[in-house]
């Protein structure tokens, strides 16, 4: 019983935690993207998956991101038990060897962002 309670307490704080099955999810996909239209000083928050369909462009490494352009690290979480998918978008501004974190967006319905891995 104490373990179950601890799990429940942990769940809201972990992105890779399936709240339905209460187990750790796999993360089969990770990818780095650049958001060319979003430049430093013009950041706007978007929570609509369709926006990211249009705006994100995949890049191989951080060195490929032009200066002053926002980037996004996308991670997909997959629950092996119930099959649910979540996608976490970590939006940041790369500044030389540092980063300025802007926002982390979690999409519970990962199927809407499947285009990211194609």
């Amino acid at each position: 019983m104490p373990l179950r309670l601890l799990d429940r307490l942990k769940a809201p704080f972990r992105d890779d935690w399936c709240r339905y099955c209460r187990r750790t999810m796999n993360h089969p996909h990770k990818r780095l993207f650049v958001i060319p239209e979003m430049k430093v000083g013009n950041y706007e928050s978007h929570t609509d998956a369709d926006y990211y369909r249009e705006a994100l462009r995949p890049v191989e490494a951080r060195g490929d991101i032009p200066p002053g352009t926002y980037a996004c690290r996308a991670v997909e979480y997959h629950c092996p038990q119930c099959g649910r998918r979540k996608v976490k978008l970590n939006i940041f501004l790369p500044v030389r060897d540092k980063i300025k974190r802007e926002e982390t967006i979690l999409f519970d319905n990962g199927k809407r962002l499947e285009f990211l891995w194609n």
Binding site: K39, V40, G41, P66, P67, G68, T69, L93, P94, V95, R96, K98, K100
Partner: protein
């Protein structure tokens, strides 16, 4: 137009902006507070406790006129000069557009504005203390572009007061601040990182414009 030296400060305008409100303030103080001549000041009155002013306050409300002038002068120094710069910049942008300058990228700082025309490979500059003259020149005249993070101090004192990108045009060096402050900020602070990123981006754009010209 292209070979002229770049004057970042119009000293006549600068002195007029700084000294004119000061002169007006002195005139109103002399006129309404009826200060005695400097030689007639009895300083011993100021030294006694409680101190006594060495002049008589006017009995009516005119005593407030120099105070109002002081407030207006401070407002002018803080806002008026910036407002003139913004108005001149707007006018310059319209004028440049009429002359075929296609502004693709622009940076407007506190002290200067840098406008870039990628189509015609030209750069336009406007300075806060010389706002009535817009300098337009081919990007090839820019000889060097770099970023100054302004990093000073060591350990816990490490930080910056100013982040800027700089470039040289002929013999003139132009500095555009993307961040400036009276206190020192940590190098990994959000505002400093944003300023470094902005400076890197502008330097990169200037460099590519300059190289494209060659």
């Amino acid at each position: 137009m292209t070979e002229t030296r770049i004057w970042k400060t119009n000293w006549l305008y600068f002195l007029a902006c700084v000294l004119a409100p000061l002169a007006l303030l002195l005139v109103t103080v002399q006129r309404y507070w009826k200060l005695p001549e400097l030689g007639d000041w009895d300083v011993t009155q100021l030294l006694q406790w409680p101190p006594v002013l060495p002049f008589q306050w006017p009995p009516d409300r005119t005593v407030l006129i120099p105070v109002a002038v002081l407030i207006l002068a401070i407002l002018w120094w803080k806002l008026g000069v910036r407002a003139i710069f913004r108005l001149c910049l707007r006018g310059a942008e319209r004028d440049l557009e009429r002359k075929g300058f296609q502004c693709a990228n622009a940076f407007t700082g506190r002290d200067c504005a840098v406008l870039m025309d990628e189509e015609n490979r030209k750069i336009a500059l406007l300075f806060k203390w010389n706002p009535f003259h817009t300098y337009v020149f081919p990007a090839g005249r820019v000889t060097k572009v770099w970023v100054d993070e302004g990093q000073r101090g060591q350990g816990v004192m490490e930080g910056t007061r100013r982040v800027s990108f700089l470039f040289t045009v002929g013999k003139s060096r132009v500095r555009a601040n993307t961040f400036s402050s009276s206190r020192r900020w940590k190098m990994d602070g959000d505002n400093v990182l944003t300023a470094i990123s902005m400076a890197d981006m502008m330097a990169d754009l200037l460099e590519s414009l300059r190289k494209g010209e060659e």
